[in-house]
């Protein structure tokens, strides 16, 4: 036998059309058998030039744009943008408006984490069941959004200086009926997935992000907290009156995919707590301050950040005194959380790469904007 069997690595595309890329996202992986030796991310398939378009529109007209960046958490995006404009124009929001904003943002976090947890379970191969269970509850949250704002996905509910409409009659009852159901679903997810032996071996010690790497890559949200770093903008830099509510920050142990999943489940429990507190003492008064439609903030710059379901969502606005922003920049948590994807996947198998991608919980609309 003079000839030895030759093996060679080959390049494989995961995406842009693939069941597990959660949108049009592409990874070019070089594999040696099942083992990944190199991974190259290719983004931009969903680029819509939002930041440039926003420079041509007034501040109020830009709110619907923010719906369409992270389309799984439009309320949070609205909130982040409105906070930035309010900071730019030195506006204040009445207490009732702030409380409604908190309720909406937390319901949105619940809805988004429902999707994230379900889709992650689907990536580990739990065939559709967790997705369906979580989506059942997500649909109910979207019903409440529809009731409040008229839209399910792209709510466009927040306005500069408050929120667009007063809450509808029966809103509080609907939310209070929903919360126990959500608790039950989270408990089901905990038992079906987090305490499932197969799920544990699939997600534990997979796609580990060390705390140093997480801080170094400026990861935020469940990605950072999964690595054991206690960092939550709602606590560290409170906005919209979050300092009034009693909640805790869940942090993981090892920074693997499993930790990120359980952190998301725990965040959902904490969000339910926040919504209950906000509903209990919902202040009266106006829901919004009067802001002219063609609002012209003084020239200057402002950066506002919130804890979106995926991490630190920041809006950076520069004003030249005109009716539309001179510069409109978004700090998307998904894009920055994805920056460690290569480090998470190289050395693992293809199945691990899918789990790693699922545990980041990306929204491609936000990556490409």
């Amino acid at each position: 036998m003079s000839e030895v069997i030759k093996t060679e690595p080959f390049v494989m595309n995961i995406g842009p059309q693939h069941p597990s890329t959660h949108g049009v996202f592409r990874v070019k992986v070089t594999v040696d058998g099942e083992k990944i030796t190199d991974a190259e991310m290719i983004i931009g398939y969903l680029h819509r030039s939002m930041e440039k378009l926003a420079e041509e529109r007034t501040y109020t007209q830009n709110i619907p744009f923010t719906d369409r960046t992270d389309y799984l958490s439009s309320m949070s995006n609205n909130l982040g943008y409105c906070l930035a404009v309010e900071k730019l124009g030195n506006l204040s929001v009445p207490p009732r408006g702030q409380a409604i904003r908190v309720i909406m943002a937390e319901l949105q976090r619940l809805a988004s984490h429902c999707m994230g947890a379900g889709a992650f379970a689907n990536d580990t191969g739990a065939w559709q069941t967790p997705v369906m269970w979580f989506n059942r509850e997500r649909e109910r949250i979207l019903d409440i959004f529809e009731m409040t704002s008229g839209a399910r996905l792209t709510c466009n509910y927040m306005r500069i200086g408050g929120v667009a409409f007063e809450l509808r009659t029966g809103f509080e009852d609907a939310v209070r009926q929903l919360l126990p159901r959500l608790r039950q679903t989270i408990a089901d997810g905990q038992e079906l997935l987090a305490e499932n032996e197969i799920f544990i071996v699939r997600a534990r010690d997979v796609a580990v992000v060390s705390p140093e790497m997480a801080i170094g890559a400026s990861l935020t949200g469940p990605m950072l907290r999964g690595s054991g770093v206690a960092w939550d903008i709602r606590k560290a830099d409170p906005y919209s009156g979050y300092e009034k509510y009693d909640f805790q920050i869940p942090i993981g142990y090892k920074g693997d995919a499993y930790d990120r999943f359980t952190v998301r489940l725990e965040e959902m429990r904490q969000s339910i707590k926040i919504v209950e507190q906000a509903l209990d003492d919902l202040p009266g008064g106006p829901h919004s301050t009067e802001v002219p439609l063609a609002f012209r903030p003084p020239s200057g710059e402002a950066y506002a950040r919130i804890e979106s379901p995926r991490g630190e969502l920041g809006y950076y606005l520069v004003s030249d005194g005109g009716p539309s922003p001179f510069r409109f920049h978004i700090r998307p948590p998904s894009l920055i959380n994805l920056s460690v994807f290569k480090e998470m996947t190289v050395g693992g198998s293809i199945a691990d790469a899918i789990v790693a991608l699922g545990s980041v919980d990306i929204v491609v609309g936000e990556i490409d904007r």
Binding site: F10, M12, H18, P19, S20, E34, A121, N122, D123, T124, G125, A126, W127, Q128, T129, M132, W133, R136, Q190, L192, L193, A194, E195, N196, E197, I198, F199, I200, V201, R202, R204, P211, I215, R225, G226, S227, G228, V229, A230, W231, D232, K235, A236, Q248, I249, P250, I251, G252, Y253, K254, D259, T262, V263, L265, E266, S349, I350, A351, D352, I354
Partner: protein, 422 residues
């Protein structure tokens, strides 16, 4: 122990062989002898396929599985075509027939064309040795257990051909995975079934049913380890969850089926269900007493008992599919070689000793109940000891994250308080 009350009248539907015999005798008068056997064999086979396999496939495999999984997933399942959606599988089949079966330009056309055909043939052959009743078995050969094992590993070749010929990287992954998994799981599967054969002293499936009827018992009560090994092994071989890595949708799109479309894909899909039905029928025969039901088979048609048992076992497949996540291939391999194989070997040893004690001392049949008790205790013991060997300790693993009140930097894991993080 239970004499059969079945008569020889053709209208006695407790044994469909009567009807078959009447047809055979009727044909015998008008046709030459040799031809009659060929025709009746074909007739019986087709009738069996039309009466059992096709409806089971359509209504238990396609419709029932989709409907049940729909219910488990908090949704409706197919309910639009016909009453309760009962015509859905037929509509699906018609749709698949109309669709174009694409072949990629770079694919190996011949092999890609042959693969679905090769995949179908063993699915039909499997049912030849399954006993549906006391006299309802096509080929009551003395080594039908070996026959079943041999035939059931044939489709792997067809799957591999499908994956290789498609010239697609996802398909190649699927093909490689299915071959690797089939090789790994065949070994414990054979060992598990061997212990059943050793205990019952026969390799004929009909013989095993009669053995279970005579005791009377079910093999699953006496051989729980063999059943567990069989169930895990067969779900790995059939690509059912949690071992569906060859068609892992979230990883490699559709595995070896990625490039198939139209009825070629339909054949793979349909025959996957037929194999699962075959495995269920085999399990019902070997582990659940086949067509016997503790004497009730004299009044209830035995074939009905058998079919219901098959469906019950098939329900297990549906249930696991709707519940469990998928394992990674290396985890599946190590589970097979490090856990399943030693356990099956140990079980074989125990069963051989038991059989020796039983036959050499001429003990009564009821001794198998004692064997069953011993086996169940040993099963718990083996699983416990083996998990200790691999240092498996579920108590020491947190399933909920830590909670902190204040934002701050990194919080190192406190090993003393909440347990270690491993």
């Amino acid at each position: 122990m239970f004499p059969l009350l079945v008569t020889d009248h053709w209208y006695d539907l407790r044994d469909l062989a009567n009807l078959y015999r009447v047809i055979l005798e009727g044909l015998d008068h008008i046709l030459p002898t040799g031809l009659v056997y060929v025709i009746t064999a074909l007739l019986g086979f087709i009738a069996f396929f039309v009466i059992f396999v096709l409806p089971s496939q359509l209504y238990v495999g396609v419709y029932g599985e989709r409907r049940l999984i729909g219910r488990m997933q908090a949704r409706q399942g197919p309910n639009r075509v016909g009453p309760l959606g009962l015509l859905q599988p037929i509509a699906d089949a018609l749709k698949l027939l109309q669709k174009e079966a694409l072949t990629p330009r770079s694919a190996d056309r011949t092999i890609m064309w042959i693969a679905p055909i090769l995949f179908v043939a063993p699915a039909i052959l499997i049912f030849a040795v399954i006993p549906f009743g006391p006299r309802m078995v096509f080929a009551d050969i003395p080594v039908s257990l070996m026959y079943f094992l041999a035939i059931s590993s044939l489709p792997v070749i067809a799957s591999f051909m499908a994956g290789w010929s498609s010239n697609n990287k996802y398909s190649l992954f699927g093909a490689m995975r299915i071959v690797a998994m089939s090789i790994s799981y065949e070994v414990p599967l054979v060992l598990g079934l061997l212990s059943v054969a050793v205990l019952s002293g026969t390799m004929s499936l009909q013989g095993m049913v009669i053995w279970q009827q005579d005791i009377p018992t079910w093999m699953i009560l006496i051989q729980p380890i063999a059943f567990a090994v069989y169930f895990i092994g067969v779900s790995a071989e059939l690509n059912r969850t949690p071992a569906d890595i060859a068609e892992a949708e979230s990883e490699i799109v559709a595995g070896y089926l990625t490039e198939y479309s139209g009825m070629r894909w339909g054949l793979f899909y349909g025959m996957d269900i037929a194999y699962a039905l075959g495995a269920s029928a085999f399990a019902a025969t070997v582990f659940f007493g086949g067509w016997s039901l503790f004497g009730l088979e004299q009044w209830i048609p035995p074939w009905l008992i058998f079919i219901l048992k098959t469906y019950l076992f098939y329900f297990l497949f549906i249930w696991t599919r709707a519940t469990l996540p998928r394992l990674r291939i290396d985890q599946l391999m190590s589970f097979s070689w490090k856990f399943l194989l030693p356990v099956a070997l140990f079980n074989l040893l125990i069963v051989a000793v038991e059989r020796l004690i039983w036959t050499s001392n001429d003990l009564p049949d009821a001794i198998v109940w004692a064997f069953g008790g011993v086996n169940i205790i040993l099963m718990v013991g083996i699983v416990f000891v083996w998990s200790k060997v691999f240092k498996y300790d579920p108590k020491n693993r947190p399933t909920k994250p830590r909670l902190v009140n204040e934002s701050g930097g990194y919080r190192p894991v406190d090993l003393g308080e909440g347990g270690s993080a491993s």
